[in-house]
Symmetry: C2
Subunit: 148 residues, 2 copies
């Protein structure tokens, strides 16, 4: 019985923690966003009408619907998202990306792309980065909401 899967999972947890603390700082000071808020905006950007219901967002963010409700509240106040209702189903409350949100998410994406490149700048070949990304993608294969 090999321990390779266990090692891989442990390394995954550690790598994610490192990335999170590397990215959170600049994301907050430059754009005033938490990492989860940035992901929320990026999911909206990729959604068909640039809007998603709270449960759909929750699934994509691996969060609870209540968390999404509370995350959307301040972002609605600052005008990044807007609340939309569905005329055919009054239960639905879409979180919709506004123009301001669309502008911001573009800048956020640039920041994240630059930071991501820095993460692999030393001692990583393009092939290695690509291979890692591909393997990681297979773990979440089948999930909806591709952010890239």
């Amino acid at each position: 019985m090999s321990k390779a899967p266990f090692t891989t999972v442990i390394n995954l947890l550690r790598a994610e923690a490192l990335v999170q603390e590397r990215f959170a700082g600049e994301l907050g000071s430059v754009h005033g966003l938490a990492l989860n808020e940035a992901l929320l905006l990026m999911h909206l950007e990729k959604a068909p009408l640039r809007r998603l219901t709270r449960v759909d967002l929750a699934k994509r963010l691996h969060a609870s619907p209540s968390t999404v409700t509370r995350m959307a509240m301040p972002m609605e106040k600052t005008g990044l998202v807007a609340r939309q209702s569905d005329p055919r189903d009054a239960r639905l409350a879409y979180v919709a990306l506004t123009e301001a949100g669309l502008t911001l998410v573009g800048e956020v994406r640039k920041t994240l792309e630059r930071r991501s490149a820095e993460l692999f700048r030393d001692r990583w070949s393009d092939a290695e980065v690509g291979s890692l990304g591909k393997l990681l993608g297979r773990i979440t294969a089948g999930e909806l909401g591709d952010l890239v």
Copy 2:
């Protein structure tokens, strides 16, 4: 300018979230531990005298010292860890693994190994799992506290 690094980072975040929600449930119901608590015990297990100061634990867990203080409190009550002081430096308050903690962490490790194997059981070759683990390990290369 390629977007491969960005894609890799996004996939890393998503994969970690998936793993966390896959593992947390069983870890809590079977062993009564959160994932972070399990990692804390495993770090102690690998430490020289099976004990670490709170700041050392904080670095290994990517958490703040105050978080470690608060995490250790209930685990001390349940007898998994014990508080030890250093006769040569009265500032230090070690978190030391007890016999009960040592026993538990062994079972926890078995659970995590089994779950990890399940994660890659379908559609993954041994070589792929090994390659993924190796690449992830390079992200956190240089950090102390190997858990495997």
